[in-house]
Symmetry: C2
Subunit: 512 residues, 2 copies
């Protein structure tokens, strides 16, 4: 009974006059956007898109991304949002895994059409959704002339979307999320967040990422006003929030930091803003403290989760920040969360283990990848790949990725903890801690360090410094110096897999 | 993945020190109540209660009602709340339909134990949950000494409860509500109501009724503080709300009216109160207007629904009262609502028809009653038995019960509209309008009227008065005078079925 498209239909029923989307001066009301979706879906169907088919979406944030995201399931098909930061070759790998029949593309990617057509044989149609038609087969403006089709009526266990994971720890996989998965996570969020019908929301984090999709679907459910920025730029964010009197926004921590560093930040009128949801990567304490001080009327809410959980698992509410700033928060309603031992039994507070999750928001599995599905969904738990622990109050602390944890002389060493110690040294600009092979310890703690310009420190000095902060067995046994920035994923996380690779050639690391 | 008991487990995880229940000086924290539930469930299991078994619950509101309500599904069984206003004979009819293996009973009903045991052969155990053990087989205090059992892990489509309907229009039926049904309706409510963890709630409407269960389950989900009053009494309600600084309460309209009429109502400090949810019967405009004026800081929210929908379908939010006071509100998120024609096709705004509903909160069916299930759940819709219409803004107006609607000379006449006209006459104390057989019109509009003491009016005067307010074909063609009060259901609704019966003996009325 739950579906993405039912949310659209209800919002058009209960909010007849309110703005649904606004982008570059183009406004649509809720009945208008529902009509656009039904017409564009009919146009896609006329082009051969059938129930269950995959349709890829390669676009910056815009009202056309939004319309496409809901028109695809309205036609009964499965939306495959594509990370636009990938190379054409990388995109082709994902697309040949998903095998979409159609590609919906905006003007920024028109020059990729020919290459993608050649590389992806399943593609039958390329639809330009914004900008000139160029090499595409047809255009949004043409398809939206179709007579509206009835909602295909997908629901609950029907596949709604394939989101390809960032792949910090291996090949990218297609996460299968059903209509029920995505809508349940919206309800889980709304049960704890006090959002109101008609609230304005700014979409500035890229909507191909599930972290940004959350607000896209939530504010569809609450019949809100959607504003879009195609790219992140601090002045544009502040201007749009102020001028449109927007109440809610999702930002990743680096975006919050850049907005706070805007020289005129305090001159913008953000009195309408009420909630900043943040997540997707760790939040430095100094940043959140500055943000809270600058905007005391705003509620800051941290979400922790992953694509496989549609995506939210815990929330740290505003009032919980004071005493639990370093926590990821508490399990959301309808989510069962446990820290698991090696036999998948729940551990007591303060013992670390892999974080396991259950709930109606847990994915159906990985697309055409039974092996990875069986490894991740086993014994009734989603294995998140994150290591963490609970405190006595039921607050979750995430300490590392399982695959980044180092087992040295039988002791678990969390790479993030060692990195935290290194970062406190004034000479350290950037660092990553990995496990490398060791005859004596199995793995040994190894640091890769980039120094600030004009600073110098020796390996021995850095090791001694660490010993003043953390236990000796956790301190690096070896340091490697870098001058260039460390390799990052598209989501801005350090690619430790690539850093480890040269050390483990021809050797089996238990998790790689 | 969704279950009543998972809500208990999460609340014990996230609210370690807060009060869960308070009744007559006895307090339990969330970990304590979860432990009580796991122990009491183990005691029930030791007494032979198995997964899928029905367990009846006959009790005034108390912390023991609450503990029982969740311990029964914790043991895997199905809770059957019994309307305590029924006669023993009426209870026996329901119980022999449900065939419970155990009966949980409080001190107010101890004197019924022997009669119920004789009348209900399926009963193996009677457990006294409050007061002396008397004729019961065992007592809560004994069973709660058992070692705690793990949650039986019922979920989603597993049957959680049988609620017997009030039966204004026929034999009482057991409404089968699954764990998913009940929990989904909680999420649907919480998506629109801004409740917070730890909020206090007063349970004063009887918890055997699904209208009161809503808050019981919602404030289990939000790990709130539950307070209980065994019976409605205005002074006790006002005192408890004030002294315990309670934020939320569900009241039926007659309760609100009686509280407002309390001579010292304005002397109680209700500054903590933030939401009054009301519903289950129509709210007179004068009452809600007085309530809003007296407590301007309180949000009043009307819910419309029925047991078959677990139960809420629409909400009228506080800010919507001003322009839509006579409406039942808008469809909740995740609920699909339509006004249906005779072919179950949705009608446009302002056309009346039967209200149909879809959603994850719609019941599984009627217990052991395939015929009634097939009549009610057909063509993909729950047929609510209510007649209503939408306005252009998506607000629902409920005009009558389908079975109370009169078809006279091919025109639909809504009994509630005619009653509304009659009630405006100063001599009318109580009235009911029904359809009786007519050679000429098929049915004719017939009024049953009880006059105020010291007032007099003739049949012709009353008919003429009606003609000044409503169309002629809607006005009564005949009036019947009563001195005694009209017959009521346990829920306080007029029993029109009984009023119609003498007129339709040996005749077939299409809906009876």
């Amino acid at each position: 009974m739950l579906s993405l498209t039912a949310l659209i239909r209800r919002s058009a029923q209960v909010n007849r006059h309110g703005i649904a989307t606004q982008f570059e001066g183009r406004q649509r009301t809720w009945p208008q956007i529902a009509d656009d979706i039904a017409r564009f879906a009919a146009g896609l169907a006329a082009r051969g898109v059938r129930a269950g088919d995959r349709v890829a979406l390669l676009s910056f944030n815009s009202d056309r991304f939004y319309t496409s995201y809901f028109a695809i399931p309205w036609a009964g098909a499965v939306v495959v949002p594509i990370n636009f930061r990938l190379t054409t070759e990388e995109m082709a790998v994902l697309l040949n895994d998903a095998e979409p029949v159609a590609l919906l593309i905006d003007a920024h990617f028109s020059d990729r059409i020919d290459a993608l057509r050649r590389a992806v044989p399943s593609l039958q149609t390329v639809v330009q959704i914004l900008g000139g038609q160029g090499a595409a087969d047809t255009h949004f403006d043409e398809l939206v002339q179709s007579a509206p089709m009835p909602d295909a009526g997908r629901r609950d266990d029907d596949l709604a979307a394939l989101y390809y994971t960032g792949g910090t720890t291996g090949r990218s996989k297609g996460v299968m999320l059903s209509h029920g998965n995505l809508v349940q996570n919206v309800f889980q969020n709304l049960a704890m967040l006090n959002y109101d019908q008609g609230d304005g929301v700014l979409h500035v984090a890229p909507l191909f990422h599930i972290g940004a999709s959350v607000n896209e679907i939530i504010f569809t459910a609450v019949a809100g006003r959607h504003y879009f920025l195609p790219a992140f730029e601090p002045t544009a964010v502040l201007t749009t929030l102020a001028e449109q009197r927007i109440q809610r926004v999702f930002l990743v921590p680096t975006m919050i930091n850049m907005v706070l560093n805007h020289p005129q930040v305090s001159t913008f009128d953000l009195s309408a803003l009420r909630t900043v949801l943040y997540g997707a990567s760790p939040m430095p304490e100094a940043v959140i403290e500055r943000a809270r001080a600058l905007w005391p009327h705003v509620q800051f809410v941290q979400a922790y989760g992953q694509t496989e959980a549609s995506p939210c698992l815990t929330l740290l509410l505003h009032d919980q920040h004071e005493h639990h700033l370093r926590s990821a928060g508490q399990p959301m309603m309808g989510v069962e969360l446990a820290v698991l031992d090696d036999d998948d039994q729940p551990l007591p507070p303060h013992q670390s283990g892999e974080i396991g999750a259950r709930g109606p928001n847990v994915m159906q599995g990985y697309w055409r990848n039974e092996k990875a599905t069986a490894e991740t969904l086993r014994n009734g738990w989603l294995h998140t790949g994150d290591v963490g622990y609970f405190d006595e109050e039921g607050f979750l602390f995430v300490v590392d990725r399982v695959k980044d944890m180092i087992v040295s002389g039988g002791e678990n060493v969390y790479s993030t903890e060692v990195e935290g110690a290194l970062y406190r040294h004034p000479a350290v600009l950037e660092c990553a801690v990995i496990g490398i092979p060791s005859e004596q310890w199995g793995e040994q703690v190894h640091a890769i360090v980039r120094l600030r310009e004009g600073h110098a420190v020796t390996e021995a000095e850095l090791m001694d410094y660490c010993k003043t902060l953390i236990a000796g067995y956790k301190c690096p046994r070896s340091v490697e110096w870098r001058r260039e920035p460390l390799p990052l994923t598209a989501a801005g996380k350090i690619l430790k897999r690539d850093l480890r690779a040269p050390y483990w050639e021809n050797r089996a690391r238990q998790v790689n």
